[in-house]
Every structure is written in structure tokens, then in C-alpha cells.
């Protein structure tokens, strides 16, 4: 099977989907569904300055969204090509990975995140997400699933 990547489409729709992801995450926070703030968490890995961390984190989140777009496009080709529901399936699988594994291992790799085992120290003070991100609110898994399903749906619907 030969896979042709339409880079222009990937870059454009990957960017749109990433913006939608950041936007819907932000809405979920405003609605009080979750305190999972990926831009802040990503940015805080680079700088302790919260304001800069948030701004830098948005950029990092979008760049990561682009990279994941490539993964989504490849994965959709295995499901029979880009369709909105294929994107949703991959988004849900991605969200499951984030909740069950990604957030769990985060305190081990994030330079400023406290661990549940050792508690905060002067260099690691960011609240850890806990299993399924539940430390950030009971609706956190729901928010992760919905936002990533939207990300996948946009890519699946518009990438050709």
C-alpha cells in the first residue's frame, strides 16, 4: 500500500484542527469541566514564568497538533481513508492513551511537576494530573475525549 501525504492540506487542516483543540480545551476550562490546561503544562516545562508559559504552551501545543496530524492521517489510511468518523475513532484512541498512560507518566518527565509519591519540592510544584487526569476534575477524561474527537473529526472531514 502506498500512502501519499498531501502536505499542504495536512499543514492547513492540521493547523485548523489544532486551533480547534486548543479552543475547545479552553472552553472546557471556562465551563469548569476540567483544570487540565495543556498549554500551561507544556509551557511550564520550558519556563517557570506562568504568563510566558501559557503563551509558549499554546505555540507548543499547536506544533504538537501538527505532528499528531501526520499520525492521524497515516492511521486513517489504515481505516480506509479520511472520513470524519475515522478521525473520531483515532481521536478517542488518542485520548484513551493520554488519559491512561500519558498523564500518568507526565510527573516523571515534566521538570516542574510534583509527583504523587514524593509531593512537591522547591523545583517541582505543579499539581500532578493523577490517574485519568482526575486531580484536575472528575470531568477531565470526558473533556479529553471530546476535544480529541473534535480534532480527529476535523482532520477526517476536511483532509483530502
Amino acid at each position: 500500500m502506498t500512502l501519499h501525504i498531501h502536505w499542504g492540506q495536512l499543514i492547513f487542516w492540521g493547523f485548523v484542527a489544532s486551533l480547534a483543540l486548543v479552543g475547545t480545551e479552553s472552553i472546557a476550562q471556562e465551563l469548569g469541566l476540567t483544570r487540565l490546561n495543556l498549554p500551561l503544562i507544556l509551557g511550564a516545562a520550558v519556563t517557570p514564568d506562568r504568563d510566558r508559559a501559557r503563551a509558549l504552551g499554546v505555540l507548543l501545543h499547536i506544533v504538537m497538533g501538527w505532528l499528531f496530524s501526520l499520525f492521524y492521517v497515516v492511521a486513517m489510511s489504515f481505516l480506509g481513508g479520511p472520513k470524519w468518523y475515522h478521525g473520531v475513532i483515532i481521536g478517542l484512541a488518542h485520548a484513551l492513551f493520554i488519559c491512561v498512560i500519558g498523564l500518568q507518566i507526565l510527573p516523571g518527565i515534566h521538570p516542574r511537576m510534583a509527583s504523587e509519591t514524593h509531593g512537591p519540592s522547591s523545583s517541582r510544584m505543579l499539581e500532578p494530573p493523577g490517574f485519568m487526569g482526575l486531580n484536575y476534575g472528575v470531568s477531565t477524561p470526558l473533556a479529553v475525549f471530546v476535544t480529541h474527537a473534535i480534532f480527529g473529526a476535523i482532520l477526517g472531514a476536511f483532509y483530502r
Partner: protein, 612 residues
């Protein structure tokens, strides 16, 4: 009873800490009984002050009997409370950390934190700690989780708080308690952080909390060290400006009237209002105090807020706004709350938000005009706002209004409102004379100003009683009449003003240094009004009396501050107790302005003496 008492302590038993975004009241008994988070007008997290069962509180005190002394660490808003028990001594240091920007850039710090540090300074002290928050005015389902290494998390709709401590806090249902014992030399830390829209930054306690305290003390001392005031009553003036800074909402420059709602003007009564908003009625006096003490940046930010954050309603102005320049919340009552010592209802939001109060126009223009007096620039956008407000006053000054005291009754022709309309016109003309507001229709403004002056002199003067009166054609006086001299409408030593002062003293006097704001059928039970007492001292210093008289008056009022130097809105003349929302920015503004005027008079007399 979890709270340990049937009623909340006297209002004057509280001290205020804050971080220029919100503020907390802590009693002499180490109980944090009031905190709205994350902003001044957000729902409460602790509000035992208004209902000891439903409101929530966070107490840290010794078990058993004790005596307390407390103070602000000099030049700061950090409170130190010393508890003396039969077995030992405990020092509790309370603050809401603030950091300099360089420190914040280099360190991940909590968005919002209350830091409480305990030190046993002698013997042994067993603690009686209770942590019982009740978010959203106690009307919020919370989810409590104790994570041994992280602390106690309380999650609610819209955020979460973490309590971290190196003391042993145990959860019991919907509160946590601590009964650890501390020995001489031990130092322990309790930190509560709030995060709304992101992962919390958890305090590392120990050295980290020491650094936070050190930063906070340094920040406040640096800030208070900028005070340029050199005159008499220096300690009281500095405490007042520090208190005002606690009421300042740093992100927008706004100043809330008080950090509380529904502390009663009449104990057990219903004069309970929400003051967590920014009133325009004290704008010019705030600006005079800020510039007078040398806080130019904060004062300019406040004027900027006055002129531009309120633009949703221009050219009309509302009596009050939120810290972001929005309309105050619709007034509602927490019907099942008991209120402070049975003073009900507990009100959230303010029903006076839509009242017509013409005095605010003069306040805003007078505040902005001080930019010119202190050689600051007025940009084109600000000039347009002033033009608009000026036109509005020109068209509406003759209307009856609610007046400065916001009575919940019909509109009347208030002398003070007319005075402030006159001030608006007069200040616009002065700005034009300074070469600003080039498009001002000078003749028209002059005509309006003179017409207002004529009306005041004719209709507010009661020939029979020999006094200016609170309303046109009325009989009663009102303490706002003392402001006629402050605003240069009538010299303080004019026969009319001297006669008016005499009547005000006779009819509104409530004992040495004390004045009611007015007396009518709404007044019984109300206390003497803090700022009015300082207006009287200022009036005397302006020339209505001798310097000695002004200073004596001033000193007499100072006796009614609490042990930390804080004033509420009103003073009970019988007991000297604090009444009304606390602490009250309006009263502290009055204190500063009276002190500034006394200092000015003193300087003038000093300069005159060598020539004589």
C-alpha cells in the same frame, strides 16, 4: 459547635490581608472568616463572618484559653498574632503572598495563596485548627480528597483549593482539623492555594514558604517606602494607604469600597449592603490622596479606569462598577443566612447600581482634572470622555437624584449633587484655561456653572436657620455640606460656612470627633459616619477653625480605629465599636485627605512665622 462561638467576633476584631486581587479577614482568634476568591466580588470561600454555620472558616489558634496581641509587620500588610497560653506562646503570621516580577519570572508561584506560618516561641502549645471552606456562599457541592504527599484537595464547580501543611491535618467529613502540639522553636507552615483554570502550583512549604513570606514583606515595605508624606499622623496615614492598596484591584486599577458585603450599619438591622464594587462617589478624593502621597502610577491607573473602563455607559455614569468596569450584580439576598450577629438580609449585588447620582460626574471630572494639576498628560481619548461627561452634566444637572447616600426612596434636589455638578463645570473651565479641552464651549459651560452656583446659594441656604441644607428648600443638614469648602465653592471661613458648621455640629454631632452623616427617620441605630468625621477635621484645617482645633478633632477620631489602625464605615457612638463594611476605603481616604490638609496648613503657618 465547630466555630467555637455563637456569633462572629466584633467587626473591629478583624485584620485584613490581601494580594491586590482579593482580601481575607482574620480575627484575633486566628480565624479566617472572610475570603472571596479569586476576585473581590467572586463568591466566598470563607464567610463565617456572615453565617458561622454555613459560611466556612479556617481557624488556627491554641486549644483552651489564651490572650492575643497582634500587629502588622511595619510597612506591610502581613499580620502577626501572638497567642499567650498558660503553657506557652504561639506566633501566627498571615499573608497572601505577593512577589516582585523578577521573582515571578524565575519561579513557578501559585496564582493565589493564603500562607499561614506558625512558630512556637515559648513552652508548648496544642493547636485547635479547623479548616472548613464553603465555596460559592456555602452553596456548592465539594469533593474532598486527601492525598498524603500532596495535601487535602477540595474540588468544586469552577476550581479547586489545596491545603498543604507540615502539620497533621485530618479529614472529618466536610472539614479538616489539626490538634498537633508544637514545642518552643518549632516553625510550621500551612498553605492554601486556589486554581481555577489550570493545574495548581502547590507550595513546597519550609524554605519555599519562608521565601514567599520574605518576598511579601519586601514587596509591601518597598511599596509603602514610596510614600512621600512627611506630615503629622504619619503612622496612621501610611496604614491608611496600605489599606487602600489592599482594596486596589491591580489588574485594572479599580478600587473597591470595602472587601465585604452585609456587615451592618445598624447592628441587628437591615442596612446591609454589598460594597465589593468600585464607587465613583469618592473618585476625586481618592485621586487627591494618591497623588498627595506620591503614588502617581497607581493614581493614574485609577483615573484611566475611571475614564475608560466605565465606557460601556458613557456619557452616563453609574454609581458603581465591578473591578472590570461592568455593571454590579443584580441584588439578591442569601435568604437562609443568619447575617452578622443576626443582621439580615445578607445581600449579594447592589440594588443602587442603576440610581441616578449626579455627584459622580463632578467626582470623575475633578479626579481627571488633577492630572493637569500634577502636570500629567490628558490624552485625546480622555479629553473626549470629559467633553461627553461635561455635556451630560450640562443637560441633566437640574434633575432630582438619589444623592451620595443612595437612599432607597424618591429622587430629590440634593445640594451635594448640585455642588458636584458645579465642580464638574468649574474643573472643565480650569482645564480649558490650562490649554486643554480646546473644543470646550466655554461660554455655555460658564453659564451652566454660574446657574448652578446661583441655585445653590438661593435654594440651599436656609435664612431662618442660618445654614446650608441637605436638599433645596429643606431644613435638615448633611455632613456633605462641609465639602463646599474643600471644592472651593465657598471659603471655609465665610460666615455662611461657619454658621453651617455650627449647625452640623449641633445636629449631627455624636460625641468627641464623631458626626452622623445625616439624621432622619432612617437614621436611628446607625453609627457616626467615618469619613464625615474626617471631613469635619479637614474643614477646620481648611480655615473653618484653628490648626489646633483641626488636630484635636483628628486625634479624637483616631481613637476609634481598631488595634491594627483599621476603620470601618461607621462608629457606634455609645461603644466605639466598628459598624458597616470593613475596612472601609472611604474612611481611610478621608483620613489621608484630612492629614494632608492639616500638613498643608501647618506648612503654611510655618512659612508665615519667619516673615512675621
Amino acid at each position: 459547635m465547630l466555630y467555637g462561638n455563637d456569633v462572629a467576633p466584633p467587626i473591629g476584631d478583624y485584620g485584613l490581608i490581601g494580594d491586590c486581587r482579593s482580601a481575607a479577614l482574620i480575627s484575633k482568634h486566628g480565624s479566617l472568616d472572610w475570603l472571596c476568591w479569586p476576585w473581590f466580588d467572586s463568591p466566598s470561600v470563607f464567610a463565617a463572618l456572615l453565617d458561622i454555620e454555613k459560611g466556612g472558616f479556617w481557624r488556627i489558634a491554641p486549644a483552651g484559653d489564651y490572650t492575643t496581641t497582634r500587629r502588622y509587620i511595619p510597612g506591610t500588610n502581613v499580620i502577626e498574632t501572638e497567642f499567650q497560653t498558660s503553657s506557652g506562646r504561639l506566633r501566627l503570621t498571615d499573608c497572601m503572598p505577593v512577589y516582585n516580577s523578577d521573582y515571578e519570572r524565575k519561579n513557578l508561584v501559585p496564582d493565589r495563596e493564603v500562607l499561614r506560618i506558625l512558630e512556637c516561641t515559648a513552652g508548648e502549645v496544642r493547636l485547635d485548627g479547623v479548616f472548613a471552606p464553603a465555596p460559592n456562599y456555602g452553596d456548592c457541592r465539594c469533593r474532598w480528597i486527601h492525598k498524603p504527599q500532596l495535601g487535602i484537595r477540595m474540588e468544586f464547580l469552577g476550581g479547586a483549593t489545596w491545603l498543604r501543611s507540615d502539620l497533621d491535618w485530618q479529614m472529618r467529613g466536610e472539614y479538616a482539623f489539626c490538634d498537633s502540639a508544637m514545642l518552643a522553636g518549632e516553625r510550621r507552615y500551612c498553605s492554601m492555594v486556589l486554581m481555577e483554570r489550570g493545574p495548581a502550583v502547590l507550595s513546597a512549604l519550609g524554605a519555599w514558604s519562608e521565601a514567599a513570606l520574605h518576598q511579601t514583606i519586601g514587596w509591601w515595605q518597598k511599596w509603602s517606602g514610596r510614600c512621600e508624606y512627611q506630615g503629622p499622623f504619619w503612622d496612621e496615614v501610611v496604614r491608611s494607604i496600605l489599606t487602600l492598596k489592599l482594596l486596589n484591584f491591580a489588574p485594572s486599577g479599580a478600587l473597591v469600597a470595602a472587601p465585604t458585603t452585609s456587615l451592618p450599619e445598624r447592628l441587628g438591622g437591615d442596612l446591609n449592603w454589598d460594597y465589593r464594587y468600585c464607587w465613583l462617589r469618592d473618585a476625586s478624593m481618592t485621586v487627591t490622596a494618591g497623588f498627595g502621597l506620591g503614588y502617581h502610577d497607581e493614581t493614574e491607573a485609577f483615573i484611566e479606569w475611571l475614564l475608560h473602563s466605565t465606557n460601556l455607559t458613557h456619557p452616563g455614569l453609574l454609581p458603581m462598577y465591578t473591578v472590570y468596569g461592568k455593571r454590579a450584580e443584580v441584588e439578591r439576598a442569601l435568604s437562609d443566612w443568619g447575617g452578622y450577629r443576626h443582621s439580615r438580609p445578607v445581600r449579594i449585588g447592589n440594588g443602587a447600581r442603576d440610581q441616578l447620582q449626579l455627584d459622580v460626574y463632578g467626582e470623575v471630572i475633578s479626579a481627571a482634572a488633577q492630572l493637569d494639576e500634577f502636570n500629567k498628560k490628558i490624552d485625546g481619548a480622555s479629553a473626549r470622555v470629559l467633553h461627553g461627561i461635561g455635556r451630560y452634566v450640562g443637560e441633566h444637572w437640574h434633575l432630582p437624584d438619589k444623592g451620595i447616600w443612595e437612599p432607597r426612596r424618591g429622587d430629590q434636589q440634593h445640594t451635594h449633587s448640585k455642588l458636584m455638578c458645579w465642580v464638574a463645570m468649574d474643573k472643565l473651565l480650569k482645564l480649558r484655561e490650562s490649554g486643554l479641552l480646546k473644543k470646550l464651549d466655554t461660554e455655555r459651560v460658564k453659564r451652566t456653572r454660574d446657574a448652578i452656583a446661583h441655585q445653590i446659594k438661593e435654594k440651599a441656604w436656609n435664612e431662618k436657620k442660618q445654614t446650608y441644607t441637605a436638599i433645596f428648600g429643606g431644613e435638615e443638614v448633611d455632613a456633605t455640606l462641609l465639602l463646599m469648602s474643600k471644592h472651593d465653592f465657598e471659603p471655609a471661613d465665610s460666615p455662611r460656612m461657619r454658621a453651617t458648621y455650627k449647625v452640623i455640629r449641633e445636629e449631627l454631632g455624636a460625641g468627641p470627633g464623631l458626626l452622623y452623616r445625616y439624621r432622619d427617620n432612617l437614621s436611628p441605630g446607625e453609627g457616626a459616619f467615618g469619613i464625615c468625621c474626617f471631613w469635619a477635621a479637614e474643614y477646620l484645617a481648611l480655615g473653618g477653625g484653628t490648626l489646633d482645633e483641626a488636630e484635636t478633632e483628628f486625634r479624637a477620631i483616631l481613637r476609634y480605629a481598631n488595634d491594627l489602625g483599621l476603620f470601618g464605615e461607621e462608629i457606634d457612638p455609645a461603644s466605639g465599636a466598628v459598624l458597616g463594611n470593613f475596612p472601609q476605603g472611604f474612611t481611610h481616604i478621608g483620613l489621608i485627605n484630612a492629614a494632608l490638609t492639616i500638613a498643608e496648613r501647618k506648612a503654611k503657618q510655618r512659612n508665615r512665622k519667619p516673615a512675621a
